[in-house]
């Protein structure tokens, strides 16, 4: 039965020729390969904590430990103002999207080089690799989110009505991480310097994002410059939606969104235009 269907089906015709000019994004191809995206995410999750003693608990331990360190140094020693919110929950709320961002950025930037033999031996839209890496980070995020709920119960914090906006901030995080990772992963194919740039980049980015401190410390006249960093908008949004701080999205948010989209779109085009050389230069 299946055989006869196959015979009737008109095979598609593919033209292979040198590409010229700006490559089309060809997102339809990506859709055809959606199952591969799923399998790559699934593989990364399966493998991530294999042969570790604590397993998936690491998804919780990492942000919790960072929170404890931050609480001690910035909360107790430096006594940074937190708009009246207990420091642990103040920082943990920010560490959640921040952790997602750095994990996504790190794994996605290395996704092409760490799957080298797939790139040199099989055809598939190369976008699958960074995309799957970024989306895979969401699983850790969900696990770590459970601790936030515990913290909120403990500190008797009720989320605001704006909690429905969380997915939007999450989306902004994913877009920013993917956009930057598209650039870095494509550059990494030829210049492995990216591996050395990444730790500095994430560290620097942490300083310009109000994770450990409150965005209110940044003076008013710099706020528009500050909001060029989409992650600042994300962190402020998380605190606003969950803890009720008055750092909700304002007009500066538009700047954040535009910057994130700029990263994503330019990243997509750069990635696509470099894609054809990946198998030869990797």
């Amino acid at each position: 039965m299946a055989k006869s269907i196959e015979l009737v089906r008109q095979p598609e015709t593919i033209f292979i020729k040198p590409s010229t000019g700006l490559a089309a994004l060809n997102l339809r191809d990506l859709w055809t390969y959606r199952e591969l995206i799923y399998f790559m995410i699934w593989r990364d999750i399966k493998v991530r904590y294999k042969q570790t003693m604590l397993g998936a608990a690491w998804a919780i331990i990492q942000p919790v430990l960072t929170m404890l360190v931050f609480t001690f140094i910035f909360g107790k020693v430096a006594k940074l103002p937190t708009d009246g919110i207990p420091y642990p929950i103040f920082s943990y709320t920010a560490l959640l999207p921040w952790g997602l961002f750095t994990t996504a950025l790190n794994t996605a930037s290395r996704s092409l080089t760490s799957n080298q033999n797939m790139v040199t031996k099989t055809y598939f839209p190369r976008l699958v690799l960074p995309l799957a890496s970024v989306l895979g980070g969401l699983v850790d995020f969900v696990i770590a989110f459970a601790i936030l709920i515990v913290l909120m119960i403990y500190y008797k914090v009720t989320p605001t009505a704006a909690i429905w906006t969380l997915p939007l901030f999450l989306l902004l995080t994913v877009i920013t991480a993917l956009g930057v990772a598209l650039w870095l992963s494509a550059i990494n194919v030829q210049y492995r310097d990216v591996n050395y740039v990444l730790p500095f980049l994430t560290q620097f980015w942490l300083f310009i994002t109000p994770v450990a401190y409150s965005a209110k410390l940044v003076s008013e006249k710099w706020s528009i410059v500050y909001s060029i960093n989409p992650m600042a908008g994300v962190v402020n949004g998380f605190r606003w939606a969950l803890l009720g701080t008055d750092t909700g999205p304002n007009l500066n948010m538009i700047v954040s969104i535009c910057v994130a989209l700029l990263f994503l779109i330019s990243g997509l085009f750069y990635f696509r235009s470099m894609e054809k050389t990946f198998a030869d230069t990797i």
């Binding site: 196959e6 095979p11 598609e12 015709t13 593919i14 033209f15 292979i16 020729k17 040198p18 590409s19 199952e35 591969l36 799923y38 399998f39 699934w42 593989r43 399966k46 493998v47 294999k50 042969q51 799957n115 033999n117 797939m118 790139v119 040199t120 031996k121 099989t122 055809y123 598939f124 030829q190 210049y191 054809k276 198998a279 030869d280 230069t281």
Partner: protein, 430 residues
């Protein structure tokens, strides 16, 4: 008949020296020099020259002006020595890399097997890897589920299907990997030398499976060094030489042509500078020669006389732990032996570090070694566990004339690649 694949004036150019290898292990001085040169490189990069711009604008055409059609349901063999462009052609057809010029029109889904087990993850179980690998090869999840049992049966690893593949023996790993690939059902199947690995029994099974695929009316492109496999599976074959298509003919004719002319027939293989990848540096092969007992370069040696093999090469920098060696194999790709010039412990000590300069590594194969036939000589220069500088598994091939060898009074072919003169004693014991 319609053409399933139509290749029109296809060409692929590679820049050589683009993938420059910078550091050799343990060369601290070079590291320092490299650091000092950083500003220069950065300026070059910013000026838009990039790493490749200054160091090597040289490029080679891995494929040039290739045109051919393959009709639907035909099995086409592709033969040619290493570097002739076979793999590049397959990579273009399977869309792994883009051509520099020319076009290909492909009717139908292409399944490519440039390697078995691509994307296999050692930590995942056999079952998990079947799904993952299937997805990478372009199978739908439902399709994999439907064929799952068949795949497991074919692989003969059903007992271990829930064990991580890192615990598999290499044979089991390979069987599983091939089993997934073999159940791919594209209209067009592109297969590289994936059968060169694995034991003889399994190779036979794979060849059988490939034969089935061809029977089902699919179009197959098949690259192999194994001439008997080419003859068995393909009706027609093309011969590539230095990126050009030099012959298309029925398989038997193409194979004969390839064996008699395609390979170096002079008894000497000389490497032109542009044939040596930049990644080989500081090792530079110059020539591989086959000499008879009088020192003359020959392409046919006598079985009853000793034969000298010598490889001349240059080192542009001193190398530690270098070993330079040979693979001898039959034309069907079966290895006869592998030997390195520093196999002897004393020799290894004496040449622990070789200074820069020109060298010859020479060895003699004793008389009464080869059976008659044609053999292939490969070369390898490496530092064990550190790096392989250069390798060409098919550098030179030669004929052996067995006249005067033991048993020649009977005009029959003798099995096996060696024909030793054994010290037979016949005793009458009663």
């Amino acid at each position: 008949m319609t053409a399933a694949i139509r290749v029109n004036r296809l060409g692929k150019r590679y820049r050589i020296g683009a993938a420059q290898t910078k550091f050799r292990y343990g060369m601290f001085r070079e590291l320092l020099v490299d650091v000092a040169m950083t500003p220069v490189r950065l300026t070059q990069m910013l000026a838009g020259k990039g790493m490749r711009g200054s160091s090597a604008t040289a490029s080679i055409w891995a494929l040039k002006d290739i045109s051919f059609d393959v009709e639907e349901g035909k099995v086409l063999g592709i033969v040619g020595r290493n570097g002739a462009g076979k793999s590049t052609l397959l990579k273009i057809l399977s869309r792994v890399t883009e051509p520099t010029e020319g076009t290909v029109t492909v009717r139908g889904r292409v399944g490519s097997l440039l390697e078995v087990g691509t994307g296999f993850h050692p930590e995942l179980t056999g079952r998990e890897n079947i799904f993952l690998n299937g997805a990478i090869l372009g199978m739908k999840r439902a399709e994999i589920e439907k064929k799952f049992d068949e795949i497991v049966d074919f692989s003969e690893v059903s007992q271990f299907i829930d064990t991580p593949v890192k615990r598999y023996s290499s044979g089991m790993y390979l069987r599983l990997a091939f089993a997934v690939a073999a159940h791919l059902e594209p209209e067009i199947l592109v297969v590289d030398e994936v059968l060169a690995v694995g034991d003889a029994e399994f190779q036979k099974k794979c060849l059988g499976k490939m034969g089935d695929v061809a029977q089902q009316g699919r179009t197959v492109l098949f690259v192999s060094h194994n001439m008997s496999a080419i003859l068995r599976l393909t009706q027609e074959a093309i011969v590539l030489k230095k990126g050009q298509l030099i012959k298309r003919a029925p398989s038997q004719e193409a194979v004969d042509f390839y064996l008699s002319s395609g390979q170096a027939e002079t008894g000497e293989r000389v490497w032109e500078p542009d044939e040596v990848p930049a990644s080989a540096a500081p090792f530079k092969p110059i020539a591989l020669r086959l000499k008879d007992k009088t020192g003359k370069i020959v392409d046919t040696v006598r079985s009853v006389e000793p034969t000298t093999l010598e490889w001349e090469y240059q080192l542009d920098a001193p190398l530690t732990g270098l070993r330079v060696g040979l693979y001898l194999s039959t034309m069907r790709g079966e290895y006869i032996f592998t030997a390195f010039d520093t196999d002897d412990a004393k020799q290894y000590e004496q040449f622990g570090t070789r200074k820069a300069g020109r060298y010859v590594s020479r060895c003699t194969i004793p008389a009464d070694f080869f059976n008659e036939g044609r053999y292939s000589l490969g070369v390898n220069a490496s530092s064990f566990g550190v790096r392989r500088y250069f390798m060409d598994e098919n550098a030179l091939s030669f004929n052996v004339d067995a006249s005067g060898a033991p048993g020649m009074q009977w005009p029959e072919p003798r099995q096996g690649p060696v024909r030793p003169r054994l010290d037979w004693k016949i005793e009458k014991i009663d």
